[in-house]
Amino acid sequence: MVCRAGSVAFLIWCIIPLATAIISSFGGASPHEAIESFFTNSSSEGRGHTNNWAVLVCASRYWFNYRHMANALGMYRSVKRLGIPDSNIILMLADDAACNPRNKFPATVYANPGRLLDLYGENIEVDYRGYEVTVENFIRVLTGRVEASVPRSKRLLSDERSNILVYMTGHGGNEFLKFQDNEEISAFDIADAFEQMYHEIFFMIDTCQANTLYSKLYSPNILATGSSDLGENSYSYENDDEIGVSVIDSYTHFVLEYLEGINKTSQATMQDFFDLYDPSIIKSTAGVRSDLFTTRSAAQTLITDFFGGVAQVEVLEEEAMAGLGVDEENRVHTEGVTILPDSSQPARSPSHSRDYRSSRKEGLCYFLATRSVHLDLVHLTPGLVVGSTLAPSLGCFCTTPAKATWSWFHPATATPFERCYDNHLKR
């Protein structure tokens, strides 16, 4: 996100240009092919998403719709906790509840009576706010048709390997959702906007007659769920007497309660979650639409596939690594580098990731061969944000007693391990 990228980029080392020598230094075609196939992976088991995005929309204005702001912010906190960084979250809030003059507790939004957990916190980035939250802007974000000068933080920079969570809340009716009590988006608009720029979409909507909003979807690989059936209202959950308004909606409260029990390594599936839907608890008939979601079933889809930003790290085959000059005994699990998506809790790279380390007298190099590097932000010390990358990469992280350097190589300029040494240690 532009909001933050600048202060950190001074540490990103420039991508080393492609040289034909690189290819020759592989000592044969096979490692190079391995790298090629790694990034254009077509094997069935590896054909997953490589990045996660979340579009969270609160379409309601006015103080009495506090609960809709709390709904969207609750989702924001949950997806951020599960690893989607701010740069991959488009948060749209149609009004300012936190610093509203009517808010007795400035700069806070609570989703529970008793005000136990402040959803606004001290670190939040709202990408579209106030009058900017319009149907036009929402569709522009989803379809990527924005003006050239619109900053990265306001764009959905998804690709064909993106899993997108789209969460909407507001006041709606049969096949429409109101924006700011002024204009509407129809189920047809949403269906048309969902046609492109994704791998899979999970669409969740909390509004009256929400299930009608996903009824017109026609594009493949979309899983959708809504809070209430045609003709049904979605109700608020609880009031806080001091805030003076309802603080959250019943369905979103149910979702957030469930997400509280999920962490980044959770193996819970969407089906597990849908099975918990109970109209007597939610106070409306929450629905699921999975007929478009055909490549796998909801039972094979993890909650974290959409709500989490879990990096899918895949490692090259042994022989490919051997070709790159990495010995089997030098292979280690990454211990030293802690991957922190934004400022949430520390998370190691997933347990199945294997990264490579090799030491020489000049120094020590880590070699990260990950296809989906989502090390959007690598925090090396508290407060120091070091690297940022969105593209699938080969990473190289070398240290000597005097310096530590770090670089990513774009797949097109894949640099073998020897090159890491040349670039980082001998310089």
Binding site: C3, G6, S7, E122, V126, E132, S153, L380, G383, K403
Partner: protein, 535 residues
Amino acid sequence: MLVLTILALQLAVAFAAGENDSEQFSENLRLRPLQDGRLSSTFEFVTILRTRTTVESESAFHEQAQHYTLFPLALGQLLRRYAVSELHLTLNSGKWNYESWGDPDYPSVASGAEMWAWIAAGGGESVDQRWKGLTNGLSGLLCASMGSLDKKRTTSPSIAFRPEGDLPSGKSHQLLYATLPSENVCTENLTPFIKMLPCKAKSGIAMLLNPHRLFDADWHGMGVHVRWLAQEGIELRLTFGAVLNPVRLSLNAMSRDWSFRSVFDRTISRPCPIATSSSIYVKLPYADPYSLTPDISRTAPEGVAIYDLRDRLEELDVKMRWRDPVFHFRPIENKQPLSVRRLLLGGQTRADLSIQLMNKENVTRQVLWLETMPWFIYFYLHTLTATIDGNRMGKAPPHSLTRIASYAPPTDHKPTLLECIVTIPPLSTVQLTVAVEKASIAYTEHPPDASRGWDLPPAVIQPLDHHGPRRIYTSTLLGDLPTPDFSMPYNVIIMTCTLVALFFGSIFNILTRSFIWVEVEGDDDAQDLVKQKTE
């Protein structure tokens, strides 16, 4: 972890090197107890980038990578990309009360968002395109709606907002000015603000930037000020001001004692190591007895206590206690030499805009009165009248009281701009009144909460004989506009559709249906056929 430590050390070395070199960072906090029991606090973070030029040429932009140690890169990239030599952006909330709080530490206290920039012209892109890119870029950088500062809101005053720094010679520069009075300020703006600071909020005076207290303040505002000084380089000044209310925070105790702990709910536990200077200035009251702890490092001549954070290793919590435990509100002493009031009186379409300028000094003052209004507000300048202390002066322009310096009528959805030089005789009040008309706008141009009215930008009064860039802002106005019945288009569409369906449908039906005579009686086969068809 060894790896991390090495990298951290490496960075520390880099910072230390940067300190003496081309970039310098300093910070200070100014605290001033106010006569109404409030406490004015102004955080100031200054980064100086020593460089000979402020704007890089187009080719340099592509060829030369930007590298800064302390200066925020995201902002530097925007400034370079859009050839911005000077930038002032403020996001404020509340009305600055000049009468009881005196002059603000920073003159830009307009409610909502205010932005002005001096942008270099030439080089393939128009200044308007650059402004658009800049506003959009800043909206992403600061999470604010600056992207809506389009040509409907942007003007170019000819006298006000002169550069506060230097402009590089050899290039023509243009001033662009825009306001967004309804913009709010909240944590999402403070988050990127803190990220622009080299020490973030982890050390130094920025540790006190607690959103829950700052946004609870009676007035608060943040600012980004960039200027170029030919001798120094590019200066970035990040400011955050808050008028805190210790009396309110003390609940029923009604005490105006304050401490960092009580007003910010934080203390400073460690200094920012890369700051070349890090000071806290406390203005000492001269009338009421007080005590200030801990002991002051030094005192400046004009009654200001100074705490130097750099040589301090222990936690710092500055406390001021007054001898009288209960604060008694007293009549406000208004020491302002010039006071301004602005009113909009009238109905939804015709109204009178009137501004009152009170000169309390025994000298004649000359001020610039700047009005920028949305495109739907027309000024009838021939109706401009002036009164002194209530005595009507007749039509103004022939008289020496007012001189219209520039006027841009609202054509083509551009805002109205009026710059008028007003002479205020000694110890008198000048009231200027002008009739305005509020045009009906298309129903799609109304904001979603149209019935609330439009927030109209504050007027700016700039004393012309005063040294330094001091400005006075009036409060914003709420303009009530004629609003249509927003459901009317739907009614019309529904009615039209109904009529079309009724008339066209029935005529089409009659014209295209063929009527066939079917023999039913006595013929069983035919009856079966009819039955089949009707089923």
